[in-house]
Every structure is written in structure tokens, then in C-alpha cells.
């Protein structure tokens, strides 16, 4: 290929003929910003960020689509180019939920809130799972965008959580088309593309079908290539950016595909294809299911040994000793070992060697899955078990049925999950596997693939080869002193014991269609372990999951359920006794289902006559999602209240009631009561942007003045509650008492200001809470020298004296557990009328 020379930024740069100006610049180490461009994709020219000036060419050509030519003189930076790029970014941010960029409190927000909130809908960066890795955000920061000059438009498209594994929020989409282009590149016929036109243009499927009703293979390439948070991996999203990535091999089916494990704090939280190409594509099991197997709530994390008729937890040493002791008595052909086809070559070798040399038996069998059937080969082993010839079994999974189990005297199981076999086992050894182990794997194309131990196994859990070696050593047999799989491989080579026969390829290929995805791992039906797979393969027990539909009738009927603004839900519940007794400032503890957490919610309104109370909540995690997904006509499992102390309603003079987020609703009854008590009441409503403001009419009707303040200045004052209070002070308002309800961060900032001006301020506490009656002490808050319980001394406590930092630390105590508890089930699309009421645009 001919070499050409051009000048970029005054430097002589060499390039190949056919290179674009962008490629030529990148090769020379000259950075040009891009968004729609991606090394795996053909030039596209959609985002206009890579514009440059080229001598002799009109205007500002996009460097990603302009071929480099001999003698070209290119400028990548000039005041005009910078200005144009800034405008491009601003226009993108205008159609993205971006008030955080222009917020006055961004710096302290990120300091005190290092992780984003697990919101159901992203209404700003602090609610976005992609905050740490967002390419748009990085560019906006690089170009120092802190004023948009254009309004932020929330498109109000329903968030798509209907499919397994992925959430799609096209309100965040900037239409770079990377997802559609990679989908077409990998699958030839893509599942998604641009649909509609003009302002309604978006990414979508034909006829807006859910992906399960299309030919989508759930390879996740779209999720991995998206520069924003529009597409996300439901399981991995809230863990944050991975610490590192390790290439390894999937062993669930004989294809043995390469994949990259994403590791965070030692855990494999995700996996993706090793390159964005058709050759490197992987199936939904590799992309989404493997991490959910390793981090599965059902996973056994401890070893167990049998005591009389039950299993009790044992140390690894005890379990190995017990296994060795039992096996001593079953040497010879009365012993069998069943391994699984997902074991590494080293593991298979060691397991065979153990069977042959330690147990002196020929009964080694391998369980393989064929579609929805399990095969044990050779079949003679299963026959021998059924004929009672085999008395002791070492099994690496759930392979044999109860009738066969009955015939056995001794059972040792090394596995990850509970099973019928495990229940009857004499010893259960919890094993490390998949991303936690290393070794080699012969795939169906005859290639030897490498597994790398990337994730840290749970404490005291070891891979199968190590478990078997330790048992062999305990039984006093030499030749099992391996420390690494490398040592095993060396012996295999020396003994010429390497199996060259590749396993059969699964037909049809799981890469082509979700109907042919592997259904088993170690004999366990994957759909029993990973609920999202139910969309493709029926789980064994179908009665699961019906719980919500058959929810019991309780007295707590939901009268109305509305999403007032994106991610903010109002629930009105029949609760006559609570409605009769509650006072402004009190809260209730609600349980949505019988197995739900008990969660405190401030009472946002009550109607003594109709016997109802109203709660306003933000969807920010598992329990608030349960409440957000209820519908009128359903029942809450339980409701306790009113709890906590009411606010002290009396005549103060001028009272400020300030609320943000869910606190907007919660301040209504307080404002109303203060007004009735003869106070001059000023309400302050804070929101990130205009599209989150709500209940303005209800508040206006119950106060003397309503001050609106938005973080992006799109309506009312620009800033937060503290800026609104500053404004009131500056115009000469004397504030005698303030009530503040909202997130801890906002209440802290407001309290700091109130302290400066000596305004008595009561803030509504929202710490972790269990019983709500002062027994457990979980909700303790340090107020000056005293320790107060938010449930019985609060929820309103003296904001000027609260130890806010300690409160935030306590609130963050279960951050990881809260992420682990996030539900993985798809959420049905909301019915019309249930969806958000915000006007479009």
C-alpha cells in the first residue's frame, strides 16, 4: 500500500493510502475527540465531534469520514473548532438527562456521593449506573461544559426492562448508532436499528417488539459498545466500573468461547466478548449468565458433612478428612466418579487418575448436556449404579435421579449449588469454578483454550482438582502433590495422557439462536438458577414466581398508584386507622409482599374522611422498586403506623418548608398544618430539572409562597434549597423555623447554611431502620452529644446538631449487599395510565 504524507497540527505525519484523517492523526498520537467512531466499526460521521479544518476544503469536514490525502494540511484545534465541538456536546446533553453538568453543587455531590443511586429511571448523572465510564460525560468535562444554553428535554420514553439481562433507557441515547452498527456487524442481520424520524428518531426493534420476540441472541455487544448509560447489564450495572478485565474461556458448552471477565473487588461481575467481531461473538450464557452463577444467591459457600440424618457446616479440612475416611471403605469397582463436560483437561485427568489409582476403579463417567437432556457416558456406570453394583459415588454435580440415589451407600458431592444429590450426601464440598479456576479446555473446534483464574473464590473454596488431590493425599496415596494446574499439565504431557479427541459441537449453535442456548451446568438447570433465563427455557418448577399475582387480600388496598414524574411514585393506600391518627411529620413502615423488607415511608398526605394515606417514593433499590411496581387494586402485605413524633405545630412566625425528591410530597402535611396554625409559610421545592417538579399546585394551595429552585435553572431559581433560603434572607425575610425533607446530602448542605444564619432547622432523618419502635437501635443518629433514634425521637431532628458524616457512613453500611439484592427479573412494560405523567418535552 502506498504511503502518503500529510501535515496535522504542523507536524509531518505518515499514513497509508485509504486511512482516514482521524486514523492518520491517531497513529501520530494526535488526539481528536470522537463518539460515534469506534475501532471495531466503519466510519459513520454521525456525531460531528471529530471535525477538523483542512486547507482547501470548505467548512469543517469530519475527520472520521475524510480520507487522508498526500499533502493535506489539517488543523485539529482552533477557536472555531472548539466552539463547534462545544455546541455539539451541548446539543447532545440537551437530549440527555444532564442537569448534573450545570449543577452548582456537583463537586460536593460527587465527594459525598461517590456511587450513583440505583434508580429505576435515570433522571440525571447521579442516578446513572454508567456515571464512572460515560464517554459523553468525559467529553463534556474535557470541554468544560458547565452551561448548556439550551433546555434539557426529557424524552419520557418508557424504560425497557422487559427483556432478560438488559435494561434499555433510550432517554439517555445520543443516537450515535454504535449499538445498531455492531449488531449488524456481528449478526449480519441486526436486531436493532434507527426507527422513526426527526425528534422521534430512536434505536429500536421492528414494530417495537421486545427483544425476546426478535432474533436477538443476547450477546450484549450493544450494551458493551454504548458510550452512555442507555443500555446496561442489569446484573453488573450498579457495581461500577470494573477494576480490571481478564480474558478467559467459557466452559459451559463445548464451543469453549473466549470471553473477558470484568472483575470488581475480586468478583466476576460481568463478561463480554473478547473482540467486537463476528468471530469473537458469544452467547447469552457467556455474556450474562456466568457471573450470575458465580454470584448466585443459591450458591453453596461452605462445606458440609453428615451427622446422623442431617448435614452440618464443616471446615475444608474436616470435609476432606471425612471424604477420605468414607472412600477408604469403597475401593474397587464399587466406586464410581461422575465428572462434567465443563471441567478443564487438568481436572478430567486428575479425576480419572483418582478413580484409577486411588480408588482402583474403572467407573469414571462424564456427564454432558444435549439440549434439554443429560447424558452420562459410559452408560454402563449408571447401569451399575441402578443394579446396585456401585455403592459409593463421587459426583461433581446433579446428574442422577432419586431412584439411582437410593441404591447408593456413600455419596460425596463437589458442586456449587444445592441439589437432590447434595441433600443425601455424606460429604458436600463447595467448589470453586469458572472464572475462579485456571487450566486448559479442548473445545469442539479442536483448539486448546486457556482458563485464567480471575475472580477470587469465596473463602476456603477450592477448585475440583485441588479437592481431589487433597482427598488422595489424605488417603495416603502419592502422586497427587500438585500445587498448580501447570504441574498437572506437565505430568499429562509426560505420560502422554492428553486427550486429542475434541467434543462434539452443539447443534444448532447457541451463537445463532437463544433456543439452542446451553441449558445445564454441572447437571443444574440454568433456568432454575438464573431467573431471567425463564424467557428462553422453562424452569423445572413452574409454580415459582406466582406469588405476586396471588397476593393475599389485606386491609391495605392500593387505591391509586401513579408515577408523578420520572422515577417518583405516589401510592395512595386504604388505611383508615392510620389516616385517623396520623399527624404531620409521622411515617409508616410498609411491606409490599410477604417476604419484602420493612421500609419506612414518610406520610405525604392523608385523608381522614376517606381513610387513605399517600406515600411518595423514589425508586432507588429493591424495596422501593417493589412499591413503585405496585398497581391500583393490589394490596400491601403489611403497613404499620403512624410512627415517630409529629412535628411541633404551633405559631412560630415565618416557617420555611423545603423539600426535594420524595421530600416534596412529605412536606405537604407540614406546610398545611403550619399554615392552619397561623404561620406565614414559604415552601421551597427543589428538583434537578423542570421535568422533575411536581405537586406545585398542592403546595401552592397550602402556603403563602412557593419558591421553585432547579439545579439547572430550567425553572425558578438556579441551585438548591440553600440558594432559595439565601435569596429569602437577602430580601429581608426573617425565618423563624425551617423544616427540610430530602436526601441526606441536601439536608446537610441546607443545615450548614441554616447554622450560619442561626435558623432553627428540623431535618427528616432517613437512616437504616428495622422495627421502627426504638428496639433495635439501627436508626441511631448522633445529635450533638446525644444519641437519638430516628424512629422514636424523630424522624425530625435538629439539623444544626446532627453528625451528618457519621449518618452518611451508617447509611452506606450495606451498599454492596443492596446491590447484590437488586432483582434480576424482567419488569413488564407499564400499562397506559400507569406511566409517567410528565408532558413530553
Amino acid at each position: 500500500m502506498t504511503e502518503i504524507q500529510l501535515t496535522i497540527e504542523g507536524r509531518k505525519v505518515k499514513a497509508k493510502e485509504g486511512d482516514t484523517v482521524l486514523e492518520a492523526a491517531q497513529k501520530a498520537g494526535i488526539k481528536i475527540p470522537t463518539l460515534c467512531a469506534h475501532p471495531a466499526l466503519e466510519p459513520y460521521g454521525a456525531c460531528r465531534l471529530c471535525i477538523v479544518e483542512i486547507e482547501g476544503m470548505r467548512g469543517y469536514p469530519t475527520s472520521c469520514t475524510t480520507p487522508a490525502a498526500e499533502g493535506m494540511v489539517v488543523k485539529t484545534v482552533s477557536p472555531e473548532i472548539i466552539e463547534l465541538r462545544k455546541n455539539v456536546i451541548k446539543l447532545m446533553l440537551s437530549g440527555h438527562t444532564s442537569p448534573c453538568f450545570v449543577c452548582l453543587h456537583r463537586e460536593s455531590c460527587e465527594k459525598y456521593r461517590p456511587r450513583s443511586f440505583k434508580a429505576g429511571k435515570v433522571t440525571r448523572c447521579v442516578f446513572c449506573s454508567n456515571r464512572d465510564t460515560c464517554e459523553l460525560r468525559m467529553l463534556a468535562d474535557e470541554y468544560e461544559i458547565n452551561d448548556l444554553e439550551v433546555p434539557i428535554i426529557y424524552k419520557n420514553l418508557e424504560v425497557e426492562q422487559i427483556d432478560p439481562f438488559m435494561d434499555r433507557d433510550y432517554n439517555l441515547c445520543i443516537l450515535c448508532g454504535r449499538c445498531a452498527r455492531i449488531c449488524e456487524k456481528i449478526h449480519e442481520k441486526g436486531t436493532i436499528d434507527f426507527i422513526n424520524r426527526g425528534k422521534d428518531a430512536r434505536i429500536g426493534t421492528a414494530f417495537n417488539r421486545p427483544h425476546t420476540d426478535t432474533d436477538c441472541r443476547f450477546c450484549g455487544a450493544c450494551v458493551d459498545i454504548c458510550p452512555t448509560g442507555a443500555m446496561s447489564d442489569r446484573f453488573a450495572k450498579w457495581y461500577g466500573a470494573p477494576d480490571w478485565v481478564q480474558e478467559s474461556t467459557c466452559v459451559v458448552c463445548p464451543l469453549g468461547c473466549s470471553l473477558n471477565f470484568k472483575i470488581k473487588d475480586g468478583k466476576a461481575i460481568g463478561a463480554s466478548m473478547s473482540a467486537f467481531s463476528r468471530e469473537a461473538r458469544i452467547c447469552a450464557i457467556g455474556r450474562f449468565v456466568l457471573p450470575q452463577l458465580l454470584n448466585n444467591p443459591a450458591r453453596r459457600l461452605s462445606h458440609q458433612v453428615r451427622i446422623e440424618d442431617g448435614l452440618i457446616e464443616a471446615s475444608y479440612k474436616e470435609a476432606v478428612e471425612r471424604a477420605a475416611g468414607i472412600l477408604e471403605a469403597y475401593r474397587g469397582d464399587q466406586f464410581a466418579l461422575i465428572a462434567h463436560s465443563g471441567a478443564t483437561r487438568e481436572e478430567i485427568y486428575i479425576l480419572k487418575k483418582f478413580t484409577k489409582e486411588v480408588m482402583k476403579s474403572d467407573n469414571f463417567a462424564l456427564a454432558t448436556a444435549n439440549g434439554d437432556k443429560l447424558l452420562i457416558q459410559p452408560a454402563s456406570v449408571l447401569d451399575a449404579i441402578n443394579r446396585g453394583k456401585i455403592k459409593a459415588l463421587y459426583s461433581l454435580g446433579d446428574f442422577i435421579d432419586p431412584i439411582s440415589i437410593e441404591k447408593l451407600e456413600a455419596i460425596i458431592v463437589a458442586d456449587l449449588f444445592p441439589s437432590r444429590l447434595e441433600k443425601t450426601a455424606d460429604v458436600f464440598l463447595a467448589a470453586a469454578a469458572l472464572a475462579e479456576t485456571d487450566g486448559t479446555f479442548l473445545n469442539s473446534q479442536g483448539k486448546v483454550k486457556t482458563l485464567k483464574a480471575a475472580a477470587t473464590p469465596p473463602e476456603n473454596l477450592f477448585p475440583d482438582w485441588k479437592i481431589v488431590c487433597d482427598i488422595a493425599k489424605k488417603m495416603g496415596v502419592s502422586g497427587f502433590g500438585f500445587r498448580t494446574t501447570g504441574g498437572i499439565l506437565k505430568e499429562m504431557k509426560k505420560r502422554k495422557a492428553i486427550d486429542q479427541e475434541p467434543p462434539l459441537s452443539p447443534e444448532p449453535s447457541p451463537l445463532e439462536h437463544v433456543d439452542s442456548l446451553p441449558q445445564f451446568y454441572r447437571g443444574h438447570r440454568l433456568s432454575d438458577l438464573v431467573c431471567a433465563l425463564e424467557a428462553f427455557m422453562p424452569p423445572e418448577e413452574i409454580e415459582k414466581k406466582k406469588e405476586r399475582e396471588e397476593a393475599e387480600e389485606t386491609p391495605f388496598r392500593i387505591i391509586e398508584k401513579i408515577e408523578i414524574v420520572p422515577n417518583t411514585h405516589m401510592v395512595t393506600i386504604q388505611a383508615p386507622v392510620i389516616a385517623q391518627k396520623c399527624q404531620p411529620g409521622q411515617f409508616v413502615i410498609a411491606m409490599v409482599g410477604r417476604t419484602s423488607e420493612r421500609i419506612p415511608y414518610t406520610i405525604s398526605d392523608f385523608d381522614r374522611k376517606s381513610g387513605t394515606i399517600t406515600l411518595v417514593t423514589l425508586e432507588l433499590g429493591r424495596s422501593s422498586r417493589e412499591l413503585a411496581n405496585t398497581r391500583a387494586g393490589e394490596y400491601l402485605a403489611h403497613l404499620t403506623g403512624p410512627l415517630g413524633k409529629p412535628v411541633d405545630v404551633k405559631k412560630y412566625g415565618t416557617v420555611v418548608c423545603a423539600g426535594g425528591c420524595y421530600g416534596v410530597g412529605a412536606m405537604l402535611p407540614i406546610a398545611r398544618a403550619m399554615k392552619q396554625a397561623g404561620n406565614r409559610v414559604i415552601c421551597i421545592e427543589e428538583a434537578a430539572s423542570h421535568y422533575l417538579l411536581h405537586w406545585k399546585d398542592r403546595l401552592s394551595a397550602n402556603c403563602d409562597e412557593l419558591v421553585i429552585v432547579t439545579k439547572d435553572g430550567s425553572e425558578g431559581l438556579k441551585g438548591g434549597v440553600q440558594e432559595a433560603i439565601e435569596m429569602l434572607i437577602q430580601r429581608g425575610e426573617k425565618i423563624d423555623q425551617a423544616y427540610v425533607i430530602g436526601c441526606t446530602f441536601m439536608m446537610m448542605l441546607v443545615s450548614e447554611l441554616a447554622k450560619k444564619h442561626g435558623i432553627p432547622t428540623q431535618t427528616a432523618m432517613n437512616p437504616l431502620m428495622l422495627d421502627g419502635t426504638g428496639m433495635c437501635g439501627a436508626c441511631r443518629v448522633s445529635v450533638g452529644e446525644a444519641t437519638k433514634f430516628a424512629c422514636v425521637d424523630g424522624p425530625f431532628l435538629d439539623g444544626l446538631k446532627i453528625n451528618w458524616i457519621e449518618l452518611m457512613q451508617r447509611q452506606a453500611a450495606f451498599k454492596t449487599e443492596e446491590i447484590e439484592a437488586m432483582p434480576q427479573e424482567p419488569v413488564p412494560m407499564h400499562e397506559p395510565g400507569h406511566a409517567c405523567l410528565t408532558a413530553k418535552g
Binding site: 445498531a180 449488524e184 442481520k189 441486526g190 436486531t191 436493532i192 436499528d193 434507527f194 426507527i195 422513526n196 424520524r197 429500536g204 426493534t205 421492528a206 414494530f207 426478535t214 432474533d215
Partner: protein
């Protein structure tokens, strides 16, 4: 794939360039672009269903639901608007009980709004099944629809 669709497809090259003419032809024969038609075109042209749907939704000329037996278009262009086009639309909406862009459940009528028909001299106009009715009033329009039932 229906015989009708197959006949349409076979008269075109298996090339992406044929997509819009095929869509127009399918709509001309079937009245709309059905999900089955998109599937058939996708298989014939080896273009993904989402791309076909993307192209079809880009142009307002394509529709995706079965149209009614009579297509009623009420002009809302400037001239028709000035001379009461909105009142005619309101009357039609009230009379057949659907909004523009919808079809009655019995597939009798589909209602569409058009921006201008180029027959401003006759404004306000209503077009039913490609026949232009000029100088319409709400009353005359209602009468016209009544006669179609």
C-alpha cells in the same frame, strides 16, 4: 408468506435498493405494511427486519395497521385551516369516534390529517378514498360519511 406478497417480491431484484419500491408496492396491494410483510421482505432482501422497519417509519407514506375500507383525509393546511378545517376534523372525530391516525374497530373508516392537498381554491377540503370534496362544512362531511355506511 402469502402468495400475494411472494408475487410482489419476485418482481424485484434481491437488492437493498429495491426496498422502498417493494414497500410501496406491498402497501399498494395489501393496504399497509404488516409484520408478516416485513418478515417476508427481510428474508427476500436479506436485510434485517429492524432496518426495514426503520426505513418504513422514516417516511410518513407507510402505515403499519390495516386501514379501514374508507380512508378519510381532512386537510389542516393553512387555507383549509382558515376556512374551518379544524371544525370539520372535530365533527369527523365526534362522528366516527376515532382520532387522526386511527381506524375504527369495524375497519370501516381510517382517519388521517393532511397538511395540504394543493387544492386550496376549494378549501376546506375532505378527501375520501382519493375523491376530493371541496367547500365542505361539518354538516356536509357528516352527511357524506353517513352515506358511506
Amino acid at each position: 408468506m402469502t402468495q400475494e406478497l411472494q408475487t410482489v417480491l419476485q418482481s424485484y431484484d434481491r437488492s437493498r435498493d429495491s426496498l422502498i419500491p417493494i414497500l410501496q408496492d406491498v402497501q399498494g396491494k395489501l393496504g399497509y405494511i404488516s409484520e408478516d410483510a416485513v418478515k417476508g421482505i427481510s428474508e427476500y432482501l436479506r436485510v434485517s427486519q429492524s432496518s426495514i422497519y426503520g426505513v418504513a417509519t422514516f417516511y410518513t407514506q407507510f402505515r403499519f395497521t390495516r386501514p379501514g375500507d374508507h380512508i378519510v383525509r381532512v386537510c389542516q393546511g393553512t387555507a383549509c385551516h382558515v376556512r374551518g378545517g379544524q371544525r370539520i376534523m372535530n365533527e369527523v372525530v365526534k362522528y366516527i369516534g376515532i382520532k387522526p391516525g386511527e381506524t375504527t374497530p369495524d375497519y370501516k373508516f381510517s382517519l388521517e390529517r393532511v397538511a395540504c392537498f394543493g387544492s386550496c381554491a376549494l378549501s376546506p377540503i375532505v378527501v375520501v378514498d382519493d375523491i376530493v370534496y371541496g367547500r365542505m362544512t361539518p354538516q356536509k362531511t357528516k352527511q357524506l360519511l353517513k352515506e358511506m355506511e
